[in-house]
């Protein structure tokens, strides 16, 4: 990986090579659609001076207790401790879903108790594991302030427009993630009046791009959502669901998935199924973690640092 880290112009092939890599975080900058890796995380953090910084965490699966990680609440707490120890306090946090494992009130309560210790504003979108209670009301009761439909919304921070989408409801047999007509209509209207120079960040649970359809890793109508964002010079799409870091750049759009705070899943096609991956105990924390995202104003530059719980 050192060869990769020191490389200047990173080719698409090397970006792909990085997908399956886990270890110390890499700082990504994107300029004119060309991703460049600037160095390993400590250099990157030191080099960074100002700009909007926020955090992404994902797939906490509070309540999960199977061999892949018997204590998902414990590793969430370790991530939270890591966040509390950051040298520079982020503006806020986004959580890209699967907060709970089985949508039990106790799981949501435990997650809230731990995440609240960051003392950050948290913007959530639901994962499919957050809509399993019979009445589908627990998620909305807790995170439903200001949301539309099943839980989508947008907000602005430091000139960046953030859009939280829901692609885990009304799923169809044989299909992938699904946004649905009502949400797409709302999205089109939401971005229509924004100027093309507004940086856009879209976040949702399941990847909006097709990662691996055999395992359902993609969104049926994701391409339509992205078509509404074509005019914008900087679009960043942040997802979870696949419990590993993957990155892809297409034109002005950077796609990125975050690690889980609970358990890793296999790389596409590398196992019979996408189920929780049991790794040796001393490897687990290298495969869990958080993502730190920085925008430098007026530079159309974005940096994502993926930090594992343990280097």
């Amino acid at each position: 990986m050192s060869e990769f880290d020191r490389d200047d112009g990173v080719s698409r092939r090397k970006v792909l090579a990085c997908m399956t890599w886990v270890g110390t975080g890499v700082l990504w900058t994107v300029s004119g659609g060309v991703p460049r890796s600037l160095g390993i995380i400590d250099e990157a953090v030191a080099a960074d001076v100002n700009g909007l910084t926020f955090l992404q965490i994902s797939d906490s699966h509070v309540g999960f207790d199977k061999p892949a990680n018997p204590n998902a609440l414990g590793t969430l707490e370790e991530c939270v401790n890591r966040i509390k120890a950051l040298p520079r306090r982020p503006a806020f946090m986004i959580h890209t879903g699967d907060i709970s494992h089985l949508s039990k009130p106790s799981e949501f309560d435990d997650a809230e108790r731990i995440i609240a210790q960051t003392r950050l504003d948290v913007h959530y979108v639901p994962g499919e594991h957050d809509f399993l209670d019979p009445d589908l009301k627990l998620y909305k009761e807790r995170y439903g302030a200001g949301i539309k439909g099943a839980g989508w919304y947008s907000f602005d921070a430091d000139g960046v427009h953030f859009i939280g989408l829901v692609n885990v409801v009304d799923l169809k047999a044989g299909g992938l993630g699904n946004l649905g007509a009502e949400q797409l209509e709302w999205l089109e209207a939401d971005v229509k009046t924004r100027t093309a120079s507004t940086p856009i960040v879209v976040f949702a649970h399941i990847p909006l791009w097709t990662v691996y359809p055999d395992w359902g890793w993609g969104t049926e109508d994701g391409a339509q959502a992205l078509s509404y964002l074509k005019k914008f010079g900087s679009v960043t799409v942040l997802n979870g669901h696949i419990h590993q870091v993957m990155q892809k750049v297409e034109g002005n759009v950077t796609f990125h998935t975050a690690r889980s705070t609970a358990f890793p899943q296999p790389a596409p096609g590398q196992a019979p199924s996408p189920g929780p991956m049991k790794v040796p105990d001393d490897q687990l924390r290298k495969m869990l973690g958080i993502a730190d995202v920085t925008f430098k104003q007026n530079e159309q530059r974005l940096a994502i640092v993926d930090t594992p719980l343990q280097g």
């Binding site: 199977k66 089985l102 399993l132 799923l171 047999a173 992938l176 395992w215 189920g275």
Partner: protein, 131 residues
């Protein structure tokens, strides 16, 4: 019905004419028992994000039980809500539904919709039914 009569006749021939009547009776009873138990319940196991067997054919009146063998929850939902949806099934949890109406029922996992399966329900046949 036809096949069971033939095999009973073959067994009867093998054990000899003197015992034929008794063997035929026993065979008829065991065939009936097998038919009845097959008509009562059937199983689908969920393994590695797959329904096993992917297509299950049963007689009307059969209770189908799905059991989740994965380390991740799954949930059963029928296309068009043709039968009732299961709660989320954690590891080793099971869900049963009794199919009374013949037809082909497509279903999927509502957490992982790329997982699909089919239950084919055939008209019940019994002593009163026309073969």
């Amino acid at each position: 019905m036809m096949r069971s009569a033939v095999s009973a006749a073959l067994i009867g021939a093998a054990v000899g004419a003197a015992l034929a009547g008794g063997v035929l009776l026993a065979q008829a009873q065991s065939a009936k028992t097998a038919t009845v138990s097959a008509a009562v319940s059937a199983a689908v196991s969920i393994d590695n994000f797959t329904f096993n067997p992917p297509t299950l054919t049963v007689k009307a009146g059969t209770t189908v039980t799905w059991t989740n063998k994965d380390d991740i929850p799954h949930g059963i939902a029928a296309t068009g809500n043709a039968f009732s949806r299961s709660p989320a099934l954690d590891t080793d949890n099971a869900y049963s539904f009794t199919f009374t109406t013949p037809g082909s029922y497509q279903y999927f996992c509502y957490l992982h919709p790329h997982m699909t399966g089919t239950i084919v329900v055939e008209a019940a046949t019994g002593s009163n039914a026309t073969p």
